[in-house]
Symmetry: C2
Subunit: 429 residues, 2 copies
């Protein structure tokens, strides 16, 4: 066994940084065997040194930029977060010096990954970002290495634990979005400003990274269309249950002859769908490859310990000299792919209307669907309240998105339809 | 990009060998990018050259031993099968010459893996065996590399597609084991001699390999206890359904303070269990690690294309110089672990008796359970037939295995109990 240790500097000692320090400490012997050499923490940086961490004798910096520039390390582990700022500065400094980088920072990889990949390739450094998607699930390694023999056509997943927790709790408790979100914030499962999670931005970052790996294309966060879960109501979740579906926030990337499509949206998935039973804070990713067929990887999508597991797997790879180009192929081989035209995608849909029960209203709705050649599958209407709007729920067979949107637009403008129609895609594989 | 190709020799051109040749041919450009160099097929060996494969210009051997000894290759891909014989000979020859080996041969790794690992370490060669467990699922890579930061305590899975197909079909059709097996044989899903699959031997091989990787211990196939699915009846599957369970053939390896336990057996799993919904020819593996928590990997467990995907992922690793010791740690660091004592394990159970309905019979059954402190959860008995035996089904709360076996033995000897009792473990995590 080589006895030259791998010298590690950690920038950021929050949840994930703390978990990483803990793992390196607890499993020092195990890691030395698996890595073929000791993994040694030689520096760390944070605003203040957390007293509870085993950091005795480890040089401490309050300025992460100073550590990145001055300390003597082989790998910089960036766990500060944020797409730019200090995080980007310390990573750039390390790569410019030819030092390796390990990061959990999906926003930075999504926005600056292409630039960083080029820089790393120039200086011979490696960027490990297993921890940026899916917490402890080894999804980056699986896409970059384990499925390397495949042309991947689809990668889709439940990529945000906060949203999955909220949707799971809404279903189990029957409570409304705002109520469950407030509780998640009290419990620390959602941020004070929850927009990043619930508006799908975090999922979009992760999806852009997965799509790049799957399709050997430069990360393209700008092309991801993004719809979050604010508008998912307890009523829709109840109807989904009745119809045999679960509502999940999905990130979906697909490669067809028309190009690449990357989208984040809440979808209804049938109970037989591989993601239907993934509940609470768990994440899961489905991949379709031309040789391997479908694979599903599931695990804890966040948290100190699972994320630290991912960070350390990258460190073990680097210690063993197991390297892979950032996005699986050399920088020069990353080929931008055309974006599939909007509205081309076909799927089944769920539509919920709030309708005032007046004569002729159904005829008008049916005409709007017929004129766009949208074929109805089933209709649920229960209870009548002559003076109030009542919910009418329909599912329609697979249809083009553009036609569906035109039909719903026309229905939404009917005077008898009281609220904007709710349209939710029904996902299949 | 290095332009020195990786020279590959394939021994065995059956289903998996053919799929591998096809993959190397179809994705030559993609693979060259991902591997950083071309993957070139320089020799192959089989009893006869299959006309449908793109093997033009590739030197062909009818004697695989001659190819292993004489051809000029970097990696020998062994796809002949069988734990010894030609397969072991060609692999040994390659490793002795310091050439790398990629294999799908679980029987060989289970029986000779320790010896081969030592040989490979001596000569600086690598053994890739991703294809030996779980078909296209990157489970070996995940355990050896992706979860390297964890002390793994449990690895369990559905590891044999033939058994899972039979059990799934029995449930969906209500038909009996012998009938479904005969159909599976006609369809080519089961061998003419099905014992290897249905008696759990194939699952035992795969489990022994996973346990070795998970616990950094030498492969120990002798310690795996093994029960197959021959005795699973349509009646038990029907009762399982009624009680909210599925019956699955599981391989389970666990590491506790008492030692390692490796077992193959048909178990009842609740519908909320991560393996309950894995149907047909799919395989899945659940891993519990101390940092990552639970992960689940699912995919196609066999077949030409998924298995070729796994073979080629090992080839890409070797081409890139990404190497890992055979069982995740250097040979000298593999530590034999004590075997957990038999009968110590606790679990819930399902028991089915065929009972002649005579006065006092329930009192005798209940007494046998009470005397072993086994606590009953529920009992199902329907229909009475004074002259015939009728099924009585019970589930009992978690109890020690030794006590459960003693109670069932006593019950089985009651004169009113017509057949040997069927005992099936109810699995939980």
């Amino acid at each position: 066994m080589t006895t030259t240790p791998l010298k590690i500097a950690i920038a950021g000692l929050g949840t994930v940084g703390g978990g990483t320090v803990q793992l390196l400490h607890e499993h020092a012997d195990l890691l030395a065997q698996r890595a073929g050499r000791p993994l040694r923490l030689v520096a760390c940086a944070a605003l203040a040194k957390p007293a509870e961490l085993p950091l005795e004798g480890v040089p401490f910096f309050t300025d992460a930029r100073a550590m990145a520039g001055d300390a003597d390390y082989d790998v910089l582990v960036e766990l500060i977060g944020g797409s730019g700022g200090i995080a980007l500065d310390v990573v750039t400094t390390a790569l410019e010096k030819g030092r390796h980088v390990v990061t959990a920072n999906k926003a930075m990889i999504a926005h600056h990954g292409v630039h960083l990949a080029r820089l790393a390739e120039t200086t011979g450094a490696v960027i490990g970002f297993e921890a940026s998607v899916g917490g402890g699930i080894p999804i980056i390694k699986s896409l970059r290495e384990g499925l390397a023999g495949n042309r991947v056509t689809t990668v889709m997943g439940i990529l945000n634990g906060t949203c999955n927790y909220i949707l799971t709790t809404m279903r189990e408790s029957g409570r409304d979005f705002a109520d469950v979100l407030a509780e998640a914030q009290r419990l620390g499962y959602a941020e004070a400003d929850p927009s990043f999670d619930i508006d799908g931005i975090d999922t979009a970052h992760k999806l852009a990274i997965l799509a790049s790996l799957a399709f050997a294309a430069p990360v393209d966060i700008e092309s991801v269309s993004c719809e979050g879960i604010r508008h998912v109501s307890a009523l829709d979740i109840r109807y989904a249950d009745e119809l045999g579906y679960r509502i999940k926030l999905l990130g979906v990337a697909s490669l067809t002859d028309a190009g690449v499509e990357t989208r984040v949206y809440p979808a209804m998935v049938p109970l037989s769908f591989p993601l239907a039973h993934v509940g609470g804070v768990f994440n899961a990713v489905v991949t379709e490859g031309d040789f391997v067929g479908r694979t599903v990887l599931e695990g804890r999508g966040a948290g100190a310990r699972p994320t630290a597991s991912a960070v350390v797997s990258d460190l073990v790879d680097i210690a063993r000299g197991r390297t892979t180009p950032t996005f699986g192929v050399p920088f020069g081989a990353l080929a931008p792919r055309p974006k599939a035209p909007a509205g081309a995608r076909r799927s089944a849909y769920y539509i919920r209307l709030m309708v005032r029960d007046e004569p002729g209203v159904f005829a008008e709705i049916a005409a709007a669907l017929r004129d766009e050649r949208v074929s109805m599958e089933q209709v649920i209407q229960r209870g009548r309240a002559p003076s109030e709007a009542v919910p009418v729920v329909m599912t329609v067979h697979e249809t083009g998105e553009a036609a569906m949107l035109r039909a719903v637009d026309r229905i939404g403008r009917l005077p008898t339809v009281a609220e904007p129609p709710r349209l939710i895609r029904i996902e299949s594989l």
